[in-house]
Symmetry: C2
Subunit: 370 residues, 2 copies
């Protein structure tokens, strides 16, 4: 085994967006080079990477080139074909997370069946292969229920609420008549997420729970630590540990959950990658989710996940990122992604604001009460 | 004037070493691209830059290419020819810091005369053009005294102690018979430095004083904040403000000083760039020296310089950087520079350790006592 990778090794990344860019910056901090494979010329990640391969994700010769360049290959985008990871593995490349984790995350039915099989609480659901499946499912799940495509939805795309069986055809058409899942409406009081990592040694490290607020299906704001009871936080950590271990996962994962009125949690979904709701770690933790992912896939020990400060992260959508007041605000930690074209709703950057923690970690956090 | 530069602009950097690499990472955070000009293929900085020009620093066509690529040009290395900055300016490029600041820093006699002219206290010195100048100078300055080449010395290179007039020929030969300065021995109790920045709006922001410990002429350790009285810290801030204003400086500067037994300061020298003794800012401040420099040269408002934590930075020389215990130490914030070849004494990385501040900043530091 080549792990731990020595500094100077190359981390391959499938995908060239802002997550890849922030992973590349974290890799550079540890002395690694990065090779990006992306179909997009001039992508945010490739502009800070030593190597770029411009190609479709499933091009065999491009995957071969990435495998040759890289000592380990990971991804920043969960819609890369799982077959690309399998192909890289067949070429002898080290890859992480594994193809099974990616494939499970890509199919909402496979994901929910995985949760059920492993005793991870999730919302009641039904598999929908045609509009005709919606009526009976709605009877079991109750109305309204949320119809989602099995594959490729994100930021609220590919979703439609179903109010009654009469809506079945319309809703199914609204999501493109694609194979789908119907989910019972969850009476949550809060949306939270846990960002966690599993190393090649099997060790798991979770960051504190984050509370997430969405607008129009897009993450708007994450607040950490979430206002949650110790029992809720413990359940969240137990869930994420189960998911990581049962998938034999290596790397950072983002697990989105609903908190119910009694403080218990239902899992919504997981993202097999660094996650927007963990961006605050870059300003509030000694080792952020990006460095943690690089550490994990490179076979290094995981770093501490203690918070040095409480944090609130705000996504900057479209032209919001161009507001000069952000650069002038001494309390605003600004991240801009180098994207060309500030289309409305497009994630162009984010800003994190820190404030003192009520209860600093007694061990690893150096910034307690002195 | 093109300032403030919008995100997506390109920052040109002369020099491809670790300082350029950390500047490039900071620029990326703010959505800028970077173009590196360096004679070294595969340099640490160019591996995280969107553009690289491989060339000698004085090549006119390479400078032309850098000027075309860049919206502003800066440098990470004080031995780039000041003529290169002048050439870039003549090509219409925006440059910062200015050529005068660079030229002053490159010539220890010019630098000391600048300090004298501006009332900045510095060690007594004499200009040495030949070995014959040493005897009379030694009589005035006292023995022993330190002979330094006027140009291009760093990390203790190009220096020799002169114990008596009889050493004159030997010492002058030891520094290559080059034009030199002889400096009186300074009875300092501590070596300290101030990292500060001046923006295009003339605003000055200084980080807290750092205490620096050298070994074999190489910076080994920086501790911040330095144990210094309020009066000493105030004198340091006044000195750095004078230097920045009188040079009409834009960007980050590192000013090295000797603290005497009575707490007063004598300036040793300044570096017209980000400085090794300010690396701790990357882990202990909201805006570090690298982002501060990018902000300054891009015409952005300067960021806060408050410390979130006390910090101690240790340079990793040669094979020290390969010690696996560093990656496993949860209190060690590790930076590796991606250099190939861990020659003894070569700066390969650094590690910062944080601990609670005794007196957190009441205003901008969010991590006080809650």
């Amino acid at each position: 085994m080549p792990f731990p990778l020595p500094p100077g090794s190359t981390i391959g990344i499938l995908g060239g967006g802002q997550l890849g860019r922030m992973l590349a910056l974290a890799a550079a901090r540890l002395g690694f080079d990065v090779a990006i494979l992306t179909p997009e010329p001039g992508s945010p990640a490739s502009r800070v990477a030593a190597h770029t391969v411009i190609s479709a994700y499933d091009d065999p010769s491009a995957l071969g080139e990435l495998a040759r360049l890289s000592d380990v290959v990971t991804f920043e985008f969960e819609n890369v074909p799982a077959a690309a990871i399998e192909r890289l593995a067949a070429l002898g490349a080290q890859t992480a997370p594994n193809a099974r984790s990616l494939a499970t995350a890509q199919d909402r039915i496979a994901e929910k069946r995985f949760f059920e099989a492993e005793g991870v609480p999730t919302v009641a659901f039904a598999q929908i292969d045609s509009a005709a499946d919606i009526g009976p499912a709605l009877e079991r799940l109750g109305a309204p229920a949320l119809l989602k495509t099995r594959r490729e939805g994100y930021d609220g795309k590919g979703q439609a609420w179903v109010e009654s069986a009469a809506d079945a055809e319309t809703a199914f058409a609204a999501i493109g008549n694609a194979p789908a899942v119907l989910e019972a409406k969850c009476p949550f009081v809060r949306e939270v997420s846990v960002i966690a990592a599993r190393g090649r040694d099997g060790r798991v490290a979770a960051y504190p729970l984050s509370e997430n607020r969405h607008e129009n299906g897009i993450l708007r704001r994450s607040i950490a630590p979430a206002q949650a009871s110790d029992a809720t936080a413990a359940q969240a950590r137990a869930i994420v540990a189960t998911v990581l271990e049962k998938l034999d996962y290596v790397g950072v994962i983002g697990v989105e959950m609903f908190e119910l009125a009694d403080g218990s949690l239902l899992v919504n979904e997981f993202a097999p990658r660094v996650h927007n709701s963990g961006h605050w770690t870059a300003d509030a933790c000694q080792v952020d989710q990006f460095e943690q992912h690089i550490r994990a896939v490179a076979g290094w020990p995981l770093g501490p996940t203690d918070m040095l400060a409480a944090a609130e992260m705000l996504n900057l959508l479209g032209e919001e990122a161009l507001d000069p007041a952000l650069a002038a605000d001494p309390m605003a930690r600004l991240w801009l992604y180098g994207k060309v074209g500030a289309a409305p709703g497009r994630k162009m950057g984010h800003v994190t604001r820190l404030k003192p923690l009520k209860s600093p970690s007694p061990n690893l956090c150096p910034l307690g009460r002195g």
